[in-house]
Symmetry: C2
């Protein structure tokens, strides 16, 4: 019996409540204004305007990315999650209005895509799955419809997307007259699983299974559809309008070919994570979902291989993925550059989606570890503390002398200032929906196991062991390692409580009602307590949280001789505003203790670290190269949580610091 | 009175004789075959074929770069230098045939450019100086004409280029009816100085002065000519044919704008080396030349500022320049990435040209130091020991895990295998002409000073102090620091001998006829002996040549905590075939001595270094990130000269190695 996340978890802990409040009160209103082109000085979204044009309510031309609809869908989805705990009549009314607008855009046959409705004749639909994101946008609409119905009980959007999904189900598949296509950007697969779960309709799951298993097979659908486009009566508007990456086949998809879309070989044969990292995580998440529900062992084997490939060699310490900007994509194992990488916010968000689904078969602490690494580091680093500024790229290091570099035509530059919006603005809403649904990652359960994956203060209730149980969790994370669960079954009942022991925990101690549970090492990353639980039973987990010096495998060339600081799940960095410029000249003395102090005045309240080290010095007129031994002076080093960088002053930043042990 | 290089220096030393022989016997014949499309498996040059088409002797279309003529010109120039010491009837006949062909291509008015002659109507000439390299190609033809006449006494090519230069002189300038243009790629400026010197015609020098001082002034000529192109009867064939970098003004020239061409501001106001590094060195070399001959103090001040900017912050240890691939260009000071850089072979060759010209006013050891750094490192690294394989990009490090990265559309990848030719094959001939003219960098003189800049075994003669003097130099460089000059004046005469003391020299000892000359510190980088010299006088300079551990300024972020090894002028590197893979896992113990041994069996005979260090180790199943202290084992480290890497097996390479002092 698969595990399921609990549907009714209320977040009570300070850290995530602060973020959820920020999303409810600032992020979502700001994003709504941005989508409605009401924010000055940012790239116009035009997303809502596109829908109005598509509905025939205003005159105008489509503008923005071909997948601009998805921004609206993701905003509705994020709002749905937020409304569940934080009712907000204004936000709900705005969501309802957008849903009504989507209803007016929807065509009689169910089709719903503003780009195609506005710019292309009907017969051009579905003719460029590789590039034009129709199925991707549909997926986001479906996720929004499912989430909005669950949160508000309002079925309008769900009805819309069911009608659209039915059109898609008729259009695609291996049946006679159907198109043998699949999306260039995965997303609809996992959305269809959610729709199947919400409606009980097996055919959506079957369609997701079809999309997954058809992917990358020969003859290649993207080749066939390209040939078919030549016979269209009206040449489709090309997208991207100018993409020099595609001037010839050699350069197609930034030189990645169909690996960019994880469609270079049949999905069932894949074992190396390649291509666009966001696409990858959505695809792999769906594969885990579909494997679980269909029992397709080949699908599960493929996604297990891909998981190992990412986690063992392609994952940044901050849970960033995507080692290169071209194609926003994976590269070879152990290629983890600190500055030239991509580490898109969306990719780390997608990693959370994927990891959560990996763990539904059986608890494995590793999945929760990765989720934890992501939610406290490389995802929320994408959001400024003001709620209105974003990183698309999350560098592991920013060096001032690099600022003058010109990058390639299609290559984005890591920045040390967050932006208020993007021409392609996928990340802001993606992060909003992750934060507003953070409750989904805390618990899983079946009818005999309560699995606690994340230590986030919260309350919930569930039916387990034949009884109803109330659960109240208190947690000091991410700043303190004390976790306390109070269980209140309606009557005494036997079931198991699984408690993930994070990989960073030092000397974890488990106790029940004050009595330490001896039990040795965690199994599969969990401590398990199976007993008959009674009202008021308390489980406590004390996770030692020393400051850790993290070292990368010797195969990661950039980080040799360096360490990163981590405390609990939080990865730290040095910022110029605390430590002066030329951060590369700083080395840590890793033989000296590092002190940790919670500072409520700093960055909204964080534990900052103080370490001892050295700073290399040189005379003002030092030559570029010299033969003299290095000179250094003792230096106090201040480190702050990585996620909170770039909230004070724009300067240098560095996660990996030279380790000089006790000095040279 | 300016210094002049000596025209008749014969190389006798083993190191450079080997290279000159390689050029004469392998490189030039191979390149001739390549230019004539007679080598299988390489990108066709079409350079000679273009000339035949332009001469109307065969049918066909122009192919190759718009500046393909320059490859032929540089081959003739390199051959000219080679013929002087190594007569070769076959090479000379081939050169004569190419010159005859150029004569048949030349138009009645003197114009000579196969691209325009073949592809464009006459009225389109000179209409895209920014991109189309007519003046650049003319410059290379002029250099070839001057060099070939000097080497062989044959004036045919000189006559051709004089006629062409006269056309250019009539076409460009500030006079009525003249075009106020200047080249997008500098080169003709320094060529015109050589032509002025060779012919005694002041007008060529004036034209060079005009090109330099007009450069970057307002209104901007590149803007004006772009507007003018709109009114041409026939739209010019665009070049490059597809250059996505130029789709809009923001991306013009890889985002560098006119800084790419060092034309972003008036040349006389420039103080920061920007843009395409090869263009820069040719331009700055010309500025030094023209300043010397015209006495234009503003020109000299500008080029002095640019020199400091490059040498103090933009120069790699190997004498590479150009920190980024986009625009093959300079970036900000201290931005010296080891892997993503360009360090084009041509740019280091151009740096030699520039540095030599900087020193003509007064001896300054720094110029000779830079030439030495270039000729023993980042130039000849561009040529395989087989004489038929080339590097365009000279990385400071090559890491295996990077091999899977996709780069941008217009971004070249550093490689660890030399190629046999390039679509844009400027570097092979440029390096050939530097090697075959290496004699020009050994000495400078005026009528009272003999300046010895490079310690290269050689013989020469000159008139100095009113007498004729024979000079015979013996030198152990680059492997040993013993230098011996025997002077044979026709009768005793007083003059000064200046001997550069290289920056790397340890406890240099100067002696004359066996008696040590006490004299303290070098002045301007030279020891000077002024005396009355008699037949058979011997000057000896003993340059201590310990292995140096080089450290970069604390402002060079990539090299903090690292050292490079240098012995004499030779910069060393580690290669995988000597040290195993994952070179980043190796650290040096810089407290232990490094041993140097000449190995005649290795890489054509080199001094290899053996150092002590450690290699970090980890279990086979080590996680990507861990909290354990590092484990390492002692390692013997072998270093070879940087220039000689990539001649055995394709693998990792690294110049900058972690310095762990005596360990952690």
């Amino acid at each position: 019996m698969p595990l399921r996340p609990l549907p009714d978890v209320a977040i009570t802990g300070a850290f995530w409540n602060t973020y959820k409040e920020l999303v409810a009160e600032k992020v979502l209103p700001y994003q709504w204004s941005a989508l409605n082109d009401q924010v000055a000085g940012i790239p116009p979204s035009h997303a809502v305007e596109n829908l109005r044009i598509a509905a025939g309510e205003v005159e105008g031309e489509f503008a923005g990315m071909v997948f601009q609809d998805s921004d609206v869908a993701k905003w509705i989805e994020a709002t749905a999650y937020s409304l569940r705990e934080r009712p907000d009549p204004v936000l709900e009314e705005r969501a309802d209005e957008l849903i009504a607008l989507l209803g007016r855009v929807q065509q009689p046959d169910g089709y719903l895509n503003s780009f195609y409705i506005v710019t292309e004749p009907v017969e051009n639909r579905w003719n460029n799955l590789r590039d034009c994101h129709e199925l991707y946008c549909a997926g986001h609409l479906i996720e929004a419809g499912v989430a909005y119905a669950a949160a508000t009980g309002k079925r309008r959007l769900l009805d819309i997307v069911v009608k659209y999904a039915d059109l898609i189900d008729r259009t695609f598949g291996r049946g006679p007259g159907q198109r043998r296509g699949y999306p260039g950007h995965p997303e609809i697969e996992l959305a269809l699983v959610r729709l199947a779960d919400a409606t009980g309709e097996q055919r959506y799951l079957d369609l997701a299974h079809y999309f997954l298993t058809e992917r990358g097979t020969a003859p290649h659908y993207f080749d066939l559809e390209e040939e078919a486009r030549a016979s269209l009566a009206q040449t489709p508007r090309s997208f991207p309008v100018i993409n020099p990456a595609d001037v010839d086949r050699e350069h197609l998809n930034y030189g990645l070919g169909y690996a960019f879309q994880q469609a270079h070989e049949p999905f069932l044969e894949q074992s190396s994570a390649v291509g666009h990292a966001v696409r990858a995580t959505y695809l792999y998440a769906a594969a885990a979902d579909v494997a679980l529900r269909t029992g397709d062992e080949r699908l599960r084997a493929a996604v297990d291989r891909l998981w190992r490939d990412v986690v063992d060699g392609k994952l940044y310490l901050t849970a960033g993925i995507g080692s290169q900007v071209p194609g926003e994509s994976f590269t070879d194992p152990y290629d983890l550059p600190n500055e030239g990488m991509y580490c898109e916010t969306c990719a780390s968000v997608g990693l959370v989606f994927w990891a959560a689904r990996m763990g539904r078969v059986a608890p494995q602490g590793e999945y929760g570890d990765v989720i934890e690494r992501a939610i406290y580091n490389g995802t929320i680093s994408g959001l400024g503390l003001d709620g209105e500024s974003y990183f698309y790229i999350n560098p592991q290091q920013y060096t001032a002398s690099m600022a003058g570099r010109q990058l390639g035509w299609d290559i984005s530059r890591p920045d040390n200032r967050r932006q208020n919006w993007f021409t392609c603005s996928c990340c802001p809403m993606n992060l909003a929906r992750m934060i507003s649904s953070i409750d989904q990652y805390v618990y899983q359960a079946d009818d005999r196991r309560l699995v606690v994956d994340q230590y986030i203060g919260s309350t919930t209730s569930l039916r387990i062991g034949g009884v109803d149980v109330e659960v109240a969790q208190e947690s000091g994370l991410p700043w303190a390692g004390d976790v306390r669960l109070r269980l209140t079954p309606s009557s005494p009942a036997e079931f198991a409580v699984w408690l993930r022991v994070p990989q960073w925990a030092d000397e974890p101690t488990l106790s029940v009602n004050g009595a330490v549970v001896e039990g040795g090492e965690p199994v599969d990353g969990y401590r398990v307590v199976t007993r008959t639980w009674s009202e008021g039973d308390v489980v406590e987990l004390r996770l030692g949280m020393p400051v850790r010096t993290v070292r990368a495998s010797t195969r990661v060339s950039e980080n040799q001789g360096k360490v990163a600081l981590q405390r609990g799940p939080v990865v730290y960095c040095l910022e110029e505003c605390d430590n002066g410029g030329d951060l590369a000249a700083i080395a840590l003395d890793t033989t000296r203790p590092v002190t940790a102090e919670f500072r409520s005045d700093l960055l909204g309240g964080v534990v900052a670290l103080r370490a001892e080290g050295w700073r290399e010095t040189e005379p003002q007129d030092a030559p570029l190269y010299g033969f003299d031994p290095p000179r250094s002076e003792p230096a106090q080093v201040t480190a702050i949580p990585y996620y909170s960088w770039a909230n004070r002053a724009a300067g240098e930043m560095r996660v990996w610091i030279r380790d000089e042990g006790a000095g040279r």
